[in-house]
């Protein structure tokens, strides 16, 4: 299902009661939103839950008039997804503190890529895992700014608003994140590009 309408037009259609507006928006942006969540979250079923929750929150905000249309629908959706991911990790941290259990990533839950050929998939999977482990080693505030800028496409001003810091701090965090990532990539001789 493809539509030539802009995001704003589809949003308006949905608000005015046309369900196909949101269907088109979901089909248009599902890959970006899902990939963003997947990079953050190792667990496939958790990524799926957050993906669903994101769009349910989107429709709630649209229907209750909480969305201000400034032509950046996708950035707004990414922010919602980002907040849900952060909420999840906060809850998880609290639970871990309460239960004192060690967390182990469930290797069986790692996702599999369904397209392209097997060799390409393995390379791609390796790169995603390397990116993920690289980002996981960054302090939370640095990881957040990298994800929001590089994968959610937010401007530094939007990142500053989203993370409740000054633009200067957001830029500074990015600078330190880049220094740290470069160091880790060199130490581990990682190649994060697909040829």
């Amino acid at each position: 299902m493809k539509s030539n309408s802009t995001d704003q037009e589809l949003v308006r259609q949905f608000i005015n009661g046309n369900l196909s507006g949101i269907e088109n928006l979901i089909h248009r942006h599902k890959k970006k939103v899902f990939t963003y969540i997947s990079i953050y979250v190792r667990d496939q079923s958790l990524a799926e839950d957050i993906f669903q929750e994101t769009f349910l929150k989107v429709i709630h905000s649209l229907k209750t008039g909480k969305y201000t249309d400034n032509g950046k629908f996708l950035s707004w959706v990414m922010r919602i997804a980002h907040n849900l991911i952060i909420d999840h990790f906060r809850r998880e941290k609290q639970m871990r503190m309460l239960s004192n259990d060690d967390y182990e990533a469930d290797i069986l839950n790692e996702k599999k890529f369904a397209e392209d050929n097997i060799e390409d998939n393995l390379v791609k999977e390796q790169i995603v895992n390397d990116v993920r482990s690289l980002l996981e080693k960054l302090p939370d505030d640095q990881r957040e700014v990298v994800m929001l800028r590089h994968y959610a496409g937010l401007s530094f001003k939007e990142i500053a608003e989203q993370t409740d810091v000054s633009i200067n701090t957001a830029l500074g965090r990015m600078r330190y994140a880049l220094i740290n990532m470069r160091k880790m990539i060199e130490e581990k001789s990682l190649n994060l590009t697909i040829n």
Binding site: Q52, I59, A114, L171, L178, L192
Partner: protein, 65 residues
Amino acid sequence: MDENFTRFLLFYDIDTSQTDLIADAFGLEICLNSLLPDFDSIIEQPDDKLVNKLLIDIEKAISRY
């Protein structure tokens, strides 16, 4: 980032596009793009069943508004 840079940002009342230009000028963007793969090369497709279930859930949810 040092104090002078903070003053510089405040003085020019930096807005969205200007901050991005500054990030470019400092090489942040180029560096970021050279370190990490872009979205398109690692894109993942959510399962069709998941999307279909979401659309059904949305249809149900809409009836409450």
